[in-house]
Structure formats: C-alpha cells, structure tokens
C-alpha cells in the first residue's frame, strides 16, 4: 500500500460512529495497549522475532511519540484557525532516539496521560468543533473527527503487529 493511501485510510471518516463512541474508542486504547504487552519479559519486549521489523518496545515507543503530535494536532485544530499540521518522517526515530533503550512502563504511562488529557478536551467540545479543520502537510484539509479517527486507527494498526510478534516468539 502506498503511504498516501495508508494515510487516507487512517483519516477516513465514518458516519456510523458518533462522537461519544469515538471518544470511548480513543480512551479504550489506553487499556488495549497495556493488555497487548502484559506479561512480556524484558527480553521479549526487546526481541525482533520477525526479521526486518521493529521490536515490541520500538512499536510502543513509536506509538507514544506519535501520540504526542496527534494530541498536538487535535489541540491546534480546536484552538487555532486552519492551522498547518506538519507530517513527520518517523523512520529515523527508533535509531536516533534509541527506542531500544527506553523504558516500557514510561512509554505506556506517557501514552495513557496523553489520551486521558485528550479525551477530557474532546468531551468538552461542542458539536460544531468536530468539523473544525487543519491543513495537514501531507494530506491537506482534515477535520477534528478525522484526526481522532487517525489516532484510534493508528494504535489498532500497530496492535495487530504486536500480536504477530508475540505469536512469532518461541514458547
């Protein structure tokens, strides 16, 4: 899949999902992420059981770092008029930010704190705010709803990979 197609799918709106359900899904992923890595040893978290793919810790660190700028984009879009939302080349992050040397618990706590904070802000928004827009440097105009869908789908996307890694680990 081309990267642009991937981003388009991540940001796709779904009229069947109301605001309350969307925020609930957004918050639920705090527990989903913790559950996905529950019981893993330090060695398992650091291992790369699928050749050429990240370790579980690298995936979690990626999710936490991504969540920082997803939250930032959500807030800019609510607070500012048509803000520019800069895309990120995430590929150099694991090596340059030493993801393998980071602390799993800290990454999970950072993710949880960001989602709790974001969910509180989203619950306070009037209906009109959900149609506010930002300009994403890679995908163009995006609504607040689309940005929240993207955050939710991004974690789901990576939870699948974490499950694959766990299944590929010996024992």
């Amino acid at each position: 899949m081309k990267y642009s197609d991937y981003l388009e799918e991540m940001q796709r709106d779904d009229d069947f999902v109301g605001t309350v359900a969307l925020i609930a899904a957004y918050e639920q992923e705090i527990d989903d992420l913790r559950t996905a890595v529950a019981g893993m040893t330090a060695a398992q978290v650091l291992s790369r059981p699928i050749p050429g793919k990240w370790s579980t810790l690298e995936v979690i660190a990626h999710i936490a770092d991504t969540e920082i700028y997803y939250t930032d984009r959500i807030e800019r879009t609510i607070a500012l008029e048509r803000p520019l939302l800069m895309g990120v080349d995430e590929r150099p992050y694991p090596e340059r930010l030493n993801y393998q040397a980071l602390d799993l618990g800290e990454q999970l706590d950072l993710f949880a704190a960001l989602r709790q904070h974001g969910a509180r802000i989203l619950r306070l928004q009037p209906p009109a705010a959900w149609l506010r827009v930002g300009v994403h440097s890679e995908t163009g105009i995006v609504t607040l709803r689309q940005l929240v869908f993207q955050a939710v789908r991004h974690v789901r996307h990576h939870l699948t990979f974490i499950a694959e890694k766990r299944a590929a680990m010996p024992g």
């Binding site: 920082i68 607070a79 990120v88 340059r96 930010l97 980071l102 960001l114 709790q116 904070h117 509180r120």
Partner: protein, 174 residues
C-alpha cells in the same frame, strides 16, 4: 513584551551550563511546578486574582500543552534532518480547550511523565546531536540545546506569574 521577544528571552543560552546540568534543570521543573500549586483549593486554582490574567489552573494547562510541543520539537530535531517547527499562539487555547474545566492532577502528571520520558531520550543522545538544527517559524534556526533551554525557561517564566497570583490571593484574603 512581544511574542518574538518572549521567544528570544526563553532561548537565551547560558554556555556555562553543561548538557547534564540542563537536563537536570529540565527534570526538576516538574517538581517545581507541583510545589508551586501545592495546598491550593479548587477555588483558588480557578480564581483570576490579577485582572485580565489567567487563573493558576489555566497557567498549568498552558504549561502542560506547551510541554507537548516542546517535546515534539526536540524529538523532531534529534531524529529528522532540519525539520520545520511550527510556532503556535498558545494564548488562544485557554478558552477553546476549556482550561478552567481541566483536572489539575491530570495536567501535573502529564507534565511529569512528558519531562521524565523526554529526559531519558536526552540522556541517551550522542554529543553531536545537541548541535542538530531545526527551523522554527518564529525564531528561525535553532539547535536542540536551544529548544531544551526554551522549555526550561518557559516554565520558569510562568512559575513567576503563579507566585504573583498566590501572593495576590493571600493579600486579597488578609
């Protein structure tokens, strides 16, 4: 003072400080913020004792939100080549994001975990990374070191205002 002056002041470097000292100052900021609001009641947190200025809770929320884009900027600069960092008008956030309805403990915890996690990353980066640069839309070319200084000084700047509010609350109550 204009926003650009604020930005310039917040990035003033003290070349006598080592990287380790800067990271320590950054890490300590979370406790300094907690201490600055310690013992305040809900009512005191939401009061605006100085006319035309934010409540203490609004300042803490502003700091918590700024910490997110400070961390994001530092990470982009350490990881990417010469990224563009978009400035932000943080003063518009208070009303639209409903700062007065936020939870103090949640905001303090967010600042603490953001700084703890970012400090771990900063401890790990190699010496050459500190001179990596980014382009900030308001300030121009900035190094990672300047971005860290900005975060440290931004919080200190607001801690002064919070102390002024507490003093004004005390004066009003006496």
């Amino acid at each position: 003072m204009t926003i650009s002056n604020n930005v310039a002041e917040a990035q003033t470097d003290n070349t006598n400080l080592t990287v380790a000292e800067l990271i320590l100052a950054y890490e300590r900021g979370s406790d300094e913020l907690r201490a600055s609001v310690s013992g305040m009641t809900d009512e005191q947190l939401r009061t605006r004792p100085i006319p035309g200025k934010w409540s203490t809770l609004e300042v803490v929320c502003h700091i918590a939100d700024c910490e997110q884009f400070f961390a994001d900027r530092m990470k982009r600069t350490a990881a990417m080549d010469h990224p563009l960092l978009i400035g932000v008008e943080g003063f518009l956030y208070a009303e639209r994001l409903g700062y007065q309805q936020h939870n103090l403990a949640e905001e303090l915890d967010l600042v603490a975990i953001t700084r703890r996690q970012m400090a771990r990353v900063l401890h790990l980066v190699s010496a050459d990374v500190w001179q990596r640069t980014a382009v900030h839309t308001e300030k121009g070319l900035m190094t990672l070191r300047q971005l860290l200084l900005h975060a440290i000084n931004h919080m200190r700047h607001h801690l002064q205002f919070m102390a002024e509010k507490r003093a004004a609350l005390k004066k009003g109550a006496s």
